[in-house]
Structure formats: C-alpha cells, structure tokens
Symmetry: C3
Subunit: 119 residues, 3 copies
C-alpha cells in the first residue's frame, strides 16, 4: 500500500500512499541565486510528480523554507508565475537555515496522485 521511489539510506524522494504523494524537500543548484534555485525546485518537483503519477495541478500543500526571508519577494516572483490560480496549493512560508549555507530555498510538497498506480 506504500510505494517509494528514489530511495536511499536517508530518504525517499517520492512516497505514495492512498492517493497522496509526499515528496522530500527539494532544493536548487547551490550556484544559482534565489530565483534560479526556486526555478530549480519547481523543475525538480514537476519531474518527481510526473514520475509519481501526479502533476503540478494536483499539489495540495507546499511548505516553502527560505534561508533568508529577505528573499521572499524574489522567490514569489517565480512562484506566482508557476501555477494557474485554479491550481494554487495551500502554502506556508517560513525562514529556516538549510542543510548547506549555499541553499536558499527548500520546498516540501504533498500532492494528490493517481490511485490506480498503487492498487
């Protein structure tokens, strides 16, 4: 009843259960600025959701952590251009220092997914 993909000793990037997919927190390329890293996160999320039998229109909850809340407006420029209004997820955004100091944003997703994929 639980399906995991891209698993290692620390985490699975994708965990599916009962029509819901949980993604590990996604981060960007440490060489990029906040807008580049936000775009990286979005691209990784889209790829993982596609693998999971889900998609960007099925995101239920997004938790956005910014290493520096001063990047809020710049991150939102990229974020707001991503999804059509009718598919916007529930979202919360807080400041949290991330695993490496070069990482500026981490996005954690819960989405709906194709239940036929599991059963």
């Amino acid at each position: 009843m639980i399906e995991r993909m891209h698993s290692n000793e620390r985490a699975s990037k994708i965990v599916k259960h009962n029509g819901v997919v949980y993604l590990s927190g996604q981060v960007g390329d440490a060489e990029n600025d906040i807008q580049g890293q936000t775009t990286d996160c979005i691209n990784k999320i889209e790829a993982l959701l596609a693998e999971a039998g889900s998609g960007p229109n099925q995101i239920l909850q997004a938790i956005v952590w910014l290493a520096d809340m001063d990047d809020f407006a710049a991150m939102n420029e990229i974020w707001n251009a991503w999804l059509p209004v009718e598919h916007a997820p529930a979202r919360a955004c807080g400041e949290s220092r991330l695993a490496r100091k070069e990482l500026l944003v981490e996005i954690t997703i819960i989405a709906a997914c194709d239940t036929d994929y599991n059963y």
Copy 2:
C-alpha cells in the same frame, strides 16, 4: 477530486482532497501582540474550516511557527484554552522568522472534512 477555495496566484487558503483539508498558513493582524495574533489565527482557522465543511474538532495536524520562541508561553496560554482535550490535534512548534517582521505567529493546519462535500 481536488477542491480549492480562496485561490490567488500564490496559494489557495483551502484545498480539499479525499476527506482531508489543507489550509494555507494563517497569520494574525500585524498590529496585535502575540496573544492577539494567536487569537486572530484561531479565528481565521475556524472560519476557513467552517467553509471547508470541517471544524476545529477535526484538526489532525497543526504546525505552529513563532517568529521568536520567547513567545512560546504566551502563545500557549491562548492555544491551550482553544480546543477541548478530546479534540487536541498533533502539534509541532518551532521558531521561524515570518514573511513580515511584524508577524509573530503562523499556524498551518491539516484537518478532516466532510467527504460528501467533494463527491
């Protein structure tokens, strides 16, 4: 299968899927102190849950972010008086600087909701 309410380009305040409702992180009026802002959050959450076909007795998980953990005791005075023991949700509370420096608390909710509303 997914229902969204109060949606804009950034987020939906309410997202319902398969008997579960996800609310965007709720914050208080920036002019209020920590106890006033906590009360504001609770009032907003109650109103959104009512719209979603849910209610404060159906909260599954609450994530509380405080801009300053020194407000923990004052926030808890309001929080603890809110829900009867038999309806207390799973909770985690951490410190996180929020989107504007006047914001002292943000609460993110996952709750059960009426499935008939969706199907």
Copy 3:
C-alpha cells in the same frame, strides 16, 4: 472517524484518520547530545507508531528541525542507520530554534496505519 491518543490541553501525541497517523513533534531528553536526542526521538516515534497500529516501515513524511544546522551530519549518522533503504520516508530538514534551548532536534511524522483500527 478521528482517533486521538495521549491527549492534553495542548496536543494529542497520536491522531489517526482514514489510514493515516499524525504524530506530534517528538523531542529527546534535554540532557543528551544531538545523537542521543536523535535516538530518543526515534525511540519515541517507534513507541507511538506501535500504539497507533503503524510502525517505522510505514512512515510517509518526516520533518526534521535542528536547533543548529551544524548538527546536520551528526544527526544523519543516527538517522541513516535507522530505517532500511526500502522504507525510507520523504524527508525535509531545516533549522528551527525549539521550545527550550536544550532541545536540539524535533521530528514530526506522518505515517500510514492500520485502517481496521479505526473502523
């Protein structure tokens, strides 16, 4: 349809709904170092999941908050040794000051659980 265990005025340590269990954020013994506190968290999570009709192989999402991200490697040594690769959950890890300054790590879990337990 919602079952709560270990409830007090602030929170329920266990909340079950529709085959999913939400645990309150678990912390360790404040006298221990980061590796000891991580072990404490794991032990508490295992005990709560067992009570909930779940187990460590059914964790869907783990959110790890470290009071100091400099503890990331030391925490991961304990974390990585915990679960077999095939049962690794989706995970996100950010820095967040916790409720008391002696607390170094808090872990918040969503897991699958036995639905027969509820219905």
